[in-house]
């Protein structure tokens, strides 16, 4: 069981949320989380001045499935069709550290004690990193709701925050999973729909072009960034092995080797760089890939509404021609138009604020990432310089000695 508590590091860890907790009337965070085997239990902590809540401050334990329940419920709420629904947080993935732990267990006999301890330490650090990441992503998910004027009032959201019993969210059974799969298939057909629909509004035309293109590019960038980060981790791992091997050779009483070991302290820094890069850049890209998808979903819903609108117009014309069911068709058409207009209006607002949010988040993360890179490079340079100086000095002294000075 691992837990993290209130951590000043968390401020830095919160990489993609930008000022989401501005409004003091509803402040949400996840100060604590427990990991039991496969399950992560998040402690969702709320502080509020809103009267709609029973208490001003409270905490509830929630599991990942309950977050998904909340997301799906919101998605299915017709009323929110014109809003960008915050993307669901991905499932906590401890596969990496778990695999490493397995390897560690297998290789225990073939390693020295120091190597084993070092690998174990590394493993724990990786575990912690994954942990922090998943907490952060769940936290941001909730904060998107709390900072949104419409979502924060949602009844299901409030239940999620307040209800101190288990929400008894069943795991999706086979039928529902299949249904979900079917829904995804339909969704990709909607890509065609979105691109196919005749757009009169220039704003949406532009948005459509932009989002479709950007979506594929950011997916690609995310994948490449992940690959790069993984490679970086591999390099750090290698340094770990090297320093382990050097440790055993240094028992050989050779100062030259000892010097190289300090070089391998650099390994530790490589590792830090790898996980900082991971957190800043990769997480940013990952998050916005999902967010872009949510924006696309909004476009889809609007496109659907537009299609419906057109259909209702056609139906009305037909009814007028036939002289039958005119009132009904008129009513239908009015409703469709209303829905479409509403979607367009809120959609425009959402997409505009989305762009602003995205730009701010990128800026913040790029700056932080760059500052970290500089900081780490400076430390590595300092360490290398010191070791270098030490080595040169010792050679100089050795030469002096052998020349008889």
């Amino acid at each position: 069981m691992t837990s993290i508590s209130e951590d000043s590091d968390k401020e830095k860890v919160r990489s993609v949320s930008v000022d989401l907790n501005n409004d003091a009337s509803l402040v949400i965070d996840i100060p604590d989380a427990l990991c039991e085997r496969d399950k992560v239990k998040f402690t969702v902590h709320t502080k509020t001045t809103l009267s709609s809540f029973q208490k001003p401050e409270f905490s509830v334990p929630r599991q990942h499935e309950e977050f998904i329940w909340l997301h799906d419920t919101i998605v299915e709420t017709e009323e929110y069709a014109g809003l960008i629904i915050p993307p669901a947080p991905p499932k906590p993935d401890f596969e990496g550290p778990r695999e490493k732990m397995h390897k560690l267990g297998e290789g225990e006999s073939s390693m020295t004690k120091e190597e084993y301890a070092k690998m174990k330490q590394e493993l724990e650090a990786e575990y912690l990193a994954v942990f922090k990441k998943t907490v952060q992503v769940h936290e941001v998910f909730l904060q998107r709701f709390s900072s949104h004027p419409i979502f924060r009032k949602d009844r299901n959201f409030q239940i999620f925050l307040e209800y101190d019993q288990d929400l008894s969210v069943r795991r999706k059974n086979a039928k529902e999973m299949f249904g979900g799969f079917f829904k995804n298939m339909v969704k990709s057909a909607d890509e065609v729909l979105i691109s196919g629909v005749k757009e009169v509004d220039e704003f949406f035309e532009q948005e459509k072009t932009f989002l479709l293109d950007y979506s594929s590019k950011i997916k690609d960038a995310t994948a490449k960034a992940e690959k790069m980060t993984r490679s970086h981790k591999n390099v750090a791992d290698d340094y770990n092995h090297i320093s382990g091997a050097l440790n055993s050779t240094a028992a050989d009483n050779n100062t030259a080797f000892k010097k190289t070991i300090s070089v391998c302290v650099l390994q530790k820094l490589e590792d830090r760089v790898a996980s900082d890069q991971e957190l800043k850049l990769t997480e940013l890209l990952r998050y916005y890939t999902r967010d872009i998808q949510a924006a696309k979903d909004l476009l889809y819903r609007r496109a659907r509404a537009l299609a419906d609108n057109e259909n209702s117009n056609k139906a009305l014309d037909k009814a007028r021609l036939k002289g039958k069911d005119i009132a009904q068709a008129e009513e239908n058409q009015k409703q469709c138009l209303q829905k479409f207009d509403k979607l367009s209006e809120s959609g425009k607002k959402e997409l505009t604020s989305f762009k602003a949010r995205r730009v701010v988040a990128f800026r913040k993360n790029l700056i932080e990432m760059t500052e970290l890179e500089i900081k780490h490079a400076k430390v590595r340079r300092l360490k290398s310089n010191n070791t270098l100086y030490g080595s040169k000095l010792s050679i100089f002294l050795l030469c002096q000695k052998s020349l008889g000075y």
Binding site: Y214, F257, F362
Partner: protein
């Protein structure tokens, strides 16, 4: 004349002469004065001969008064600089060596092998550590991968390997004087070293001998009277294991760093495309700049991988092979001891035979027996002398080896650290240039 851009230049290696060294006097004659080095283009069928320079220089230091052969070594040194640059493949690898006598020689890879086998047969059995032959291909094992890959070395690496081999060879005072070595370095035509081909008769004979040696090693149970040897042998066993492990780790590092470089380049392209797609102008520009930074970093990774490889990995590989040679020399000592023992056994037998003959009273055979006894007494004496000599040589060689090892590693570590410092310097520069771009996003 083009020179290899990737491989580092060979280092001038210092030669230390032991005052006890029989050849110490002789080497001084070889010290050459230092006129200008002249580059001469090779005339020969193979194109693109790149300059290789041997640049001996005599630097004479004051002789240290301390004659202790274990500690202070005579600093009567001279520097030989050999650099080998990239060969072009003309059927086989060929190298040009410029000597100061303005002789340009071309050497095939198999020539190196031939030189090695000659030196090995001459010197190993008396206890000199002969640098192992360069290998055409390496069997490398990647950490985490189950299979070992046999990779043909690229020409640059091969050239460096041959160069280091030569340098190590000439560092050995005895070997430097060896006529074969001198011929190798200077004469324009070398008889084709046919016996180095793997499947030749000589090659097969070598393999058989190797197998026989291995068997013998297992059967010879030597009474080690000298604790120094026992200790050293153990040390070298340990060192062998450790270096191999280290080497494997470093090879893995090189591999992963190359992979990192590829992935960084790929990310850079992707970021550039993302930047193009981005409709917010300032962010778009920042993303393009990010892509450029990552491209530069990719280049840094490549350079670092080269440093990793050429400095550390190759050095480790060399030492793994050298230690095999060292162990071989210890084995030779065992063989010598065994020979000595055998001779003693023979002598004993002859003496017993003689005693028997005395009783049997066969005067003619008796004389023969007495002759044989004398012969074997001589052999025993020779065997003991050989054993003493080889033991002495080995002690000296091991001392020299260890000093060289420390020096080699120190030099390499310093270079490596310098490369690391440089990399960090560049990284700082790139990211500091990018920071204002990121801040400019509005």
């Amino acid at each position: 004349i083009s020179s290899s851009s990737n491989g580092p230049k060979a280092e001038p290696m210092l030669l230390d002469h032991d005052p006890d060294d029989l050849f110490a006097e002789a080497t001084e004659e070889v010290s050459l004065d230092s006129p200008e080095r002249q580059m001469i283009l090779s005339d020969g069928p193979s194109p693109a001969i790149t300059p290789v320079t041997i640049n001996p220089r005599a630097d004479v230091f004051d002789r240290s008064p301390d004659q202790d052969e274990d500690e202070e070594e005579n600093r009567d040194t001279f520097d030989i600089q050999i650099s080998v640059s990239d060969p072009e493949k003309v059927g086989k690898t060929s190298l040009s060596i410029f000597s100061r006598d303005e002789v340009c020689v071309k050497r095939r890879f198999s020539d190196f092998l031939g030189l090695h086998s000659k030196l090995a047969s001459k010197y190993m059995h008396i206890g000199y550590i002969v640098p192992p032959a360069p290998e055409k291909s390496i069997v490398g094992q990647r950490l985490g991968r189950r299979s070992s890959a046999v990779t043909e070395l690229d020409p640059d690496a091969k050239a460096c390997l041959c160069c280091r081999y030569l340098l190590r060879t000439v560092k050995q005072p005895a070997l430097l004087k060896d006529p074969d070595v001198l011929q190798f370095l200077e004469s324009s035509e070398l008889p084709r070293a046919v016996s180095t081909q793997a499947l030749s008769g000589a090659g097969i004979l070598r393999m058989v001998n190797k197998a026989a040696d291995a068997v013998n090693k297992m059967t010879i149970k030597m009474n080690e009277s000298d604790a120094w040897f026992e200790e050293k042998q153990q040390q070298f066993e340990n060192l062998d294991v450790q270096l191999r492990k280290l080497h494997a780790s470093v090879e893995s590092l090189v591999f992963h760093r190359k992979e990192l470089s590829v992935n960084t380049a790929s990310f850079a392209k992707s970021a550039a495309m993302l930047g193009n797609s981005e409709d917010h102008t300032a962010l778009s520009r920042a993303l393009s700049q990010l892509a450029e930074v990552e491209e530069k970093i990719d280049q840094l990774h490549q350079d670092q991988a080269c440093a990793d490889f050429y400095l550390i990995s190759e050095l480790l590989g060399d030492y793994v092979r050298l230690i095999t040679a060292v162990k071989g020399v210890f084995d030779q000592r065992m063989k010598t001891w065994a020979k000595c023992q055998d001779a003693q056994v023979m002598l004993q037998r002859k003496r017993e035979a003689e005693a028997k003959l005395q009783h049997a009273n066969k005067p003619d055979k008796l004389q023969q027996a007495k002759d044989e006894i004398r012969e074997w007494e001589g052999k025993v004496q020779q065997g003991e002398r050989d054993f003493e000599q080889i033991s002495k040589n080995i002690r000296r060689e091991v001392g020299r080896f260890e000093k060289d090892r420390v020096k080699d590693f120190r030099v390499v570590i310093i270079k490596y650290l310098e490369s690391l410092v440089h990399t960090q310097q560049q990284l700082i520069k790139y990211w500091e240039a990018f920071l204002p771009e990121a801040k400019a996003i509005a």
